[in-house]
């Protein structure tokens, strides 16, 4: 599964994207964030304030309870500031 990061989240994680093997007990976006935070302090810092983390699965906005099953690409990013 591919993870992609944008804006300050990308900077804090230290890379724009990565491939991960999803652990069996990680089934939702919220689970994935919790699992990432446990990897090391960079992820812990990047995801420290989950209120300002937005997620998308395969280019569609999703909430934290969204299921990861079948997803190809999960994106994490701060609230959007375009327009």
């Amino acid at each position: 599964m591919k993870l992609v990061y944008f804006a300050w989240l990308r900077e804090r994680v230290g890379k724009p994207d990565e491939e991960i093997d999803l652990p069996a007990d990680v089934s939702t976006v919220a689970d994935l964030i919790a699992w990432l935070k446990g990897r090391d302090e960079r992820y812990e810092h990047a995801f420290e304030n989950t209120d300002v983390i937005r997620a998308a699965i395969d280019h569609v906005h999703v909430k934290a309870h969204a299921a990861l099953a079948g997803a190809r690409e999960i994106a994490f990013f701060p609230p959007m500031t375009g327009g």
Binding site: H59, A75, P79, T81, G82
Partner: protein, 153 residues
Amino acid sequence: MSRTVRVQREDFDVADEIEALTYGTRDVGAVTAFVGLCRDEGGRLSGLELEHYPGMAEAEIDRVVAEAEARWPLLGATVIHRYGLIPPGGQIVLVAVTSSHRAAAFAATDFLMDFLKTRAPFWKREHLVNGTLGPWIEAATEDDQAATRWSGG
């Protein structure tokens, strides 16, 4: 209904886009265009850098335009959003809409801008006049509030 969505580094020409939207039409009575420009924030900024999520940016704008088409009797819509470094005075975004009457065109343009700001995956970062990188711009709560006024209708 003609629909054009482009996400690009290059600048755009508003007159050309309006011409493309109205060329050969006989039923269009109104065309509205909103152009968002880069401000220097009182001389503080040398520009704004826009990062985007390639693929999702186009897809999300397309979904927002489809929602506008479902709400108002539109005849055409063009949305262009730029990315990269844009200097003060430079064009960032164009929303242009055609309809038979002006009310639908004005309302749809306003709706499209509100939802582009809160849903299209773009992030702005300040570049300062002293040559350093400034902070990522934080999302404005008034933008979220502006977007919520369209719900429940």
